[in-house]
């Protein structure tokens, strides 16, 4: 009697198959990533009438790599919980590996004990994700890279510069100086300066008073911006206090045009009014956080999608190709 063809049994499982799921924080970005990867994206989340989240994953996840896309932007706790519960559901559905793709990592600024008797919230959230079954974290421009050390699992931090740089180059800026609005952003400014082959770097100083959080004052500057086009780079635009101060300061010091490039557009409080009234000529931001209607409509703001970056990172994680060689600019 001829034997059953065992090979066929195994052939039914496509080793390259992976599943892309998304939380509710940025459905548009998830759809774009899915389109590039030519794969379906599903959102398995709904809410019960009392406000508790309900997660049910419909596709078969057994022995498949699962990617969960969710920036943990505002409302941050709901978005974190959606991600955590998706991870648990994926684990229970026998996913082989769960990657949390978190373009914007909420609480990242609470990355140390800056005073006594406070939690290290960013580290606590990373631990929660791992405990829920996440095997790998992917972020973009995470505020503090030391966070990668808060878990034992791999953490790939990508840079929005991959997406922002082509948009900046298109502007054909002349006599360009890259500037950082504070001391902490020096390395990032230096990286942009190198990639754009600019004439120089400028650093604005500020002092932040934690008692009145988010209030910042520009105090001084290293570098020369007179008659130059200035590109201010930062990771997060929150209330925009820091960046607007720095931009106005650069203008006072004789800068011709001031452009801003940043990964994450939080735009909290009266950020948009401040930007409109400031010396900023153009602000280039990525869509790690879903842009609100008034952000999309703002004439000074250009939005560049990180979907190609995320899609390529997902593809490389799936195939095992290097991420650092091609994606970390």
């Amino acid at each position: 009697m001829p034997r059953q063809n065992d090979n066929n049994l195994f052939a039914t499982l496509d080793k390259d198959e992976f599943i892309l799921l998304t939380g509710r924080a940025n459905l548009e970005l998830a759809a774009s990533v899915g389109k590039i990867l030519n794969t379906e994206v599903t959102c398995p989340i709904s809410s019960f009438s009392d406000g508790e989240l309900r997660v049910r994953i419909q596709p078969n996840l057994r022995r498949r790599m699962v990617f969960l896309l969710q920036p943990t932007s505002s409302p941050v706790n709901d978005h974190i919980m959606e991600l955590i519960l998706m991870a648990d559901a994926a684990k229970r559905a026998s996913a082989s590996e769960i990657t949390a793709v978190i373009p914007y990592f909420g609480y990242a600024r609470q990355d140390r004990k800056e005073m006594s008797r406070v939690p290290i919230s960013a580290s606590a959230i990373a631990t929660l994700l791992i405990n829920a079954g996440v095997d790998r974290i992917v972020t973009i421009d995470v505020h503090s890279e030391q966070l990668e050390g808060s878990i034992k699992q791999p953490w790939d931090n990508l840079f929005a510069s991959y997406s922002l740089l082509p948009a900046i180059k298109k502007l054909h800026l002349k006599d360009l100086v890259v500037a950082s609005p504070d001391k902490g952003g020096f390395l990032q400014a230096a990286a942009y300066a190198k990639l754009l082959q600019t004439e120089g770097i400028a650093i604005a100083y500020k002092q932040r008073d934690i008692a009145f959080n988010d209030v910042s004052n520009t105090l001084g500057m290293i570098g020369e911006v007179k008659d130059k086009d200035v590109l201010l780079v930062d990771d997060i635009i929150g209330t925009a206090g820091t960046i607007v101060h720095a931009a106005n300061f650069m203008k006072q010091k004789g800068a011709r045009n001031v452009l801003v490039a940043a990964a994450h557009g939080v735009f909290s409080g009266d950020a948009l009014q401040k930007i409109n009234a400031s010396g900023i000529n153009e602000l280039i931001i990525s869509d790690t956080i879903r842009p609100r209607e008034e952000v999309l409509k703002n004439k000074k703001i250009t939005i560049v999608s990180v979907a190609p970056l995320l899609a390529e990172a997902i593809r490389r994680i799936k195939t095992g190709e290097s991420i650092s060689k091609a994606l970390i600019l």
């Binding site: 009392d50 229970r92 008797r117």
Partner: protein, 314 residues
């Protein structure tokens, strides 16, 4: 002992502190412009036994994460032990996979506590008797049933409900609004000297979540319900739909009065209006969940659980 309170039910925490004759230790919560919060303990907890009180009802995710941060801060600041009092435990109804591909949210929440090495948990009237087994942490499971039994026996209540207060308990019948609550009903029946019980049968459509209550089950025949005083007992009231449908079926079968006793007042959506306008005569709940003023309604009575929790903490 240092007592802390999360933001979900400060009035209850204050009552517990009052019974224990201690002060609540302050927590400072800073809210950033983007909605992120940071908690800060304002007293030293080095080598202290600490207690944190937080119900994880709506907004459930915020309440859980706030609790998680407070525990993290307590642990990082050198607390000797951390006892978490969760008068209402959110996500407790997601305690197993109902349908393929679902999350077991409760298990995830339990892992939160375990990963932070919480020492003790105190919870009230958990939805299922299996829940304490899911914890690998010592857990004290308290119940409001004795409070309810005491109220049902009280002269004041009997006079309020019945024209014949002396005979009230003889005329009464306990009702479980669904078959899952039988353990609770048997317990309270015993506390009241073995009064009879019946259950209404709840059919839930797993897809739409809609329920229908059309029939009875249990030792008492529906034909024996006429002229009885119905006492519905359950662990929580969420939309109120179960209670209202159950009461309707009881009244259709001739009960004279219908009072509801439920521990957790979740009161989602339009529950207060719905309960007020229903066939239910009175609604008794506890203060495990903070009830804002706009959710009070004339038929509502709130029984305090602070004494019970304080006793467990001692």
């Amino acid at each position: 002992m240092k007592l802390f309170s999360g933001s979900s039910n400060k009035p209850l925490a204050e009552k517990i502190a009052e019974v224990l004759k201690i002060e609540i230790s302050p927590i400072e919560t800073m809210i950033f412009p983007d909605g992120e919060r940071r908690v800060k303990l304002n007293v030293s907890v080095v080598d202290e036994e600490t207690v944190i009180i937080q119900s994880t009802n709506t907004p459930v995710d915020q309440n859980y994460i706030e609790l998680y941060f407070i525990i993290d801060a307590l642990k990082r600041s050198g607390a000797k032990s951390v006892t978490v009092v969760i008068p209402y435990l959110g996500y407790q109804r997601q305690d197993h996979v109902f349908r393929d591909g679902e999350v077991v949210s409760l298990e995830v929440m339990i892992r939160f506590f375990e990963s932070l090495q919480v020492d003790n948990i105190i919870a009230l009237d958990l939805h299922s008797i299996k829940i304490p087994e899911m914890f690998h942490i010592s857990i004290k499971h308290l119940s409001a049933l004795p409070l309810f039994a005491e109220r049902m026996k009280s002269k004041a209540f009997n006079a309020l409900v019945s024209d014949n207060p002396e005979e009230f308990l003889k005329d009464s019948i306990l009702v479980s609004p669904d078959m899952g609550g039988l353990r609770r009903i048997e317990q309270i029946s015993e506390m009241l000297g073995g009064i009879p019980w019946i259950a209404t049968v709840k059919d839930r459509d797993l897809k739409t979540g809609e329920i229908a209550i059309k029939q009875f089950e249990g030792p008492v025949k529906p034909s024996d319900l006429s002229e009885k005083r119905a006492l519905i007992v359950d662990d929580m009231i969420s939309s109120g739909n179960t209670m209202v449908q159950s009461a309707q079926l009881l009244k259709d079968n001739g009960v004279l009065s219908c009072d509801v006793f439920a521990t957790h007042a979740i009161f989602s959506e339009e529950a207060p209006e719905f309960l007020q306008e229903s066939n239910i005569d009175r609604v008794y709940v506890t203060d495990t969940v903070f009830i804002p003023e706009e959710k009070y309604f004339p038929k509502l009575h709130v029984l305090p659980v602070a004494e019970m929790i304080a006793k467990a903490l001692r």
